[in-house]
Amino acid sequence: MLIAKVSILFTYIAFIVGCIKYKYFSKELKIIFYFVALGAITEIYTTVQMHFWMKNTRPIGHFYYPAALLILGLFYLQVLRNFIRPVYILTIIIAFLAYSIINTIFIQGLFEYASLVAAIGGLIVFLFSVAFFTKIMIEAKIAKLSTEPLIWINSGLLFYYAGNFFYHMLFNLRLLASMEVTMISIELFVVLNLMFYLIITIGFLMVNKKNGKTETKLTLN
């Protein structure tokens, strides 16, 4: 699938742009960079694994989705700390990580697609992104939204995890129902993935000396 290759390329582009802009990143943006790095490393690992020993990439999902939520959870812990008590966010992260371990061992095995973990994790991120938008609405401190990196990144997270919720949730069932529909859904997933990393790249590109370090304060002018 050409679109899949383009999507992977955007992951690497986001990673490279992140490397270049890293010195201007605030704490929150560095966490997002680690998330992008996780995505890039997962892609590389998956490619190597498929090439050299196993075509079934489902086991990696059981590690990637919890790790992704852990990193994104830490991101939202930073940006929402004056809005939601950190203990609530930490509780959600820890509960999710515990569930993902239980899911891998007892519910959906290592070689079954981690649909429940991915869907629940995605829902959590979706709700966190809504909370972040709510916080910004209430504070009303940002004059120009289009130049604010965290707005881009949060928007990307919102659309990506909203759009992929049912993809993850129904993956295993869809696979049994229709191969054709499964392929269409995978293409849709890949398109969302491409747009997601494109938006993150734009977010990283918006960072400069002035706004990179003041992200946490989100000040006007």
Binding site: I136, A140, I142, L145, L158, F159, A162, G163
Partner: protein, 262 residues
């Protein structure tokens, strides 16, 4: 088969619904944020307007009071002091005793000083030449009065033909220059202050006040001193621009630029 179809349907409808939900949240956020910022902007503008009105009213009341006091000093106190001086003069003439004569002469000298101070105070409160002859003449008169004290020297230069503009703006500019001179006299330790007034052909006025004093740290004073902020407020009210630069050991320059037509 039916189950498969429902799974497919749920997937497409669900995905579409979630994307729609995300879009709604996003656009709601954008629109709400714009409205909030708009409201905040309007609120800030209203506050700024109110603040300006308060300052204008305060300045207007101050000027009215100054005018009243200046007139009272000139018309009543000044007149009475002149009468007292005349009477003391008569006492000096008619007195036979040398001690009494000397006392009367000394008293006349003190009264002369008091009359001079009363005139100075009256002029500084409201210079009569400002309304009659214009800004530059009023500044020259102010310089003359200050130079009499021989503390320092104020030099006035003019370029271009003097033109008149609104009374309240002329008075406001005069007050600003007065304040700048007071600051320089009190704090700068300068020996010379130069006032350059430029009347441009297109009715623009530029006045610079430069001293050769010790200078000061401008950013520090802007944070802590109300005086400079008051000066800025006064210039903003009349629509003028105000700039100041100062270097430690090299003196201070303040520039006021006013488009008198605006």
């Amino acid at each position: 088969m039916e189950e498969s179809n429902s799974i497919i349907l749920i997937y497409f409808v669900g995905t579409f619904g979630m994307v729609l939900l995300a879009l709604s949240i996003f656009f709601f956020f954008i629109i709400y944020q714009k409205r909030m910022l708009q409201k905040q902007l309007e609120l800030n503008e209203t506050r700024a307007q109110q603040q300006e009105e308060i300052i204008q009213n305060t300045i207007s009341s101050q000027e009215k009071e100054r005018k009243r006091i200046a007139q009272d000093l000139h018309d009543e106190v000044g007149a009475m002091l002149s009468v007292v001086k005349l009477n003391v003069g008569r006492i000096e003439k008619k007195s036979q005793e040398p001690n009494a004569k000397q006392l009367a002469a000394e008293t006349k000298t003190y009264i002369d000083e008091v009359i001079t101070q009363v005139r100075r105070i009256s002029r500084s409160l409201l210079p009569p030449s400002l309304e009659k002859l214009g800004l530059f003449f009023a500044l020259e008169e102010l310089a003359t009065w200050v130079n009499k004290a021989e503390q320092l020297k104020i030099v006035c230069w003019k370029s271009g033909e003097q033109f008149r503009f609104l009374n309240n703006k002329e008075l406001a500019v005069f007050r600003i220059i007065q304040e700048l001179l007071n600051n320089a006299i009190k704090h700068s330790g300068a020996s010379t202050i130069q006032i350059n007034t430029r009347f441009s052909a297109n009715d623009n006025l530029t006045i610079s006040v430069t001293d050769n004093g010790k200078g000061f740290e401008l950013n520090e004073k802007l944070k802590t001193g109300l005086g400079l902020k008051n000066l800025e407020s006064r210039t903003q009210i009349i629509g003028a621009k105000f700039k100041m630069k100062s270097t430690i050991g090299k003196g201070t320059t303040a520039i006021i630029y006013l488009d008198t037509k605006a």
